[in-house]
């Protein structure tokens, strides 16, 4: 089946991003197609490359980036949610006059239409949140 995954919470504070990751990875291993992973609300905070988790803990952001690289995953960060929370790529930095970016490899920033499209194009939408 073709799946869209939605992640509503940031890394570490809630288990949502962890569960979404394990679910997505397992679905891929079972041969399903991930149409898109859409990061909404605080979920956009999964897409910052500035985290330094403790050495003996998992690296949530890197795990997503690696999974995206391995499976050519489409990891989309909602632009409206990202602006409220400070997730910035080059385009956003230029548009909003920011002096730095923090987006992690494998993520891209786009509009809410990408979530709707996920709902239309996929067989299932599975949401992970608080």
């Amino acid at each position: 089946m073709k799946l869209t995954i939605q992640v509503n919470e940031g890394p570490y504070q809630h288990q949502s991003s962890d569960t979404a990751y394990h679910f997505t990875k397992t679905a891929l291993e079972k041969g399903h197609e991930i149409f898109r992973v859409f990061f909404y609300h605080d979920g956009v905070n999964n897409g910052t490359r500035l985290t330094t988790p403790p050495q003996d803990d998992r690296n949530i952001v890197k795990r997503w980036s690696d999974l995206a690289a391995e499976h050519d995953l489409d990891l989309v960060i909602c632009v409206a949610a990202a602006q409220r929370r400070g997730i910035v790529d080059d385009g956003e930095a230029e548009r909003n006059g920011k002096d730095a970016t923090n987006i992690a490899p494998g993520f891209r920033i786009s509009g809410l239409g990408q979530l709707i499209e996920g709902g239309i194009q996929s067989d299932r939408l599975v949401v992970f949140g608080d």
């Binding site: 288990q15 569960t19 990875k25 079972k30 949140g129």
Partner: protein, 98 residues
């Protein structure tokens, strides 16, 4: 159409299990994940919510919380992440009761 109801919060902290159970229809499945797995402990005040429902529980979340399979109410199925994916495929849609 059949539906997978996903609950990820403790029934002692939130109303999400009650909401899920209150909106289940015939052929639906309840899946307990994350802190939602506490609902499946035998002898807990919330366990009654599961009566008469088709219930699966994510095993990795049970183990993390130190809940042995012998502590579970009768009739619940323990699944792994693969089983979670299978449940999503076997039902027509999912509702996460956030």
């Amino acid at each position: 159409m059949s539906m997978l109801h996903i609950v990820n919060k403790s029934p002692y902290e939130r109303n999400s299990l009650a909401a899920a159970v209150g909106h289940m229809t015939d052929g639906d499945t309840l899946l307990l994940i994350e802190d939602g797995v506490y609902a499946a402990i035998k002898g807990g005040a919330a366990a009654g919510n599961l009566e008469g429902k088709t219930v699966s529980v994510l095993g990795a979340d049970l183990a993390a919380r130190g809940i042995g399979v012998d502590k579970l109410v009768d009739g619940v199925s323990v699944v792994d992440y693969g089983g979670f994916v299978d449940l999503v495929e076997a039902t027509d849609k999912s509702q996460s009761w956030l």
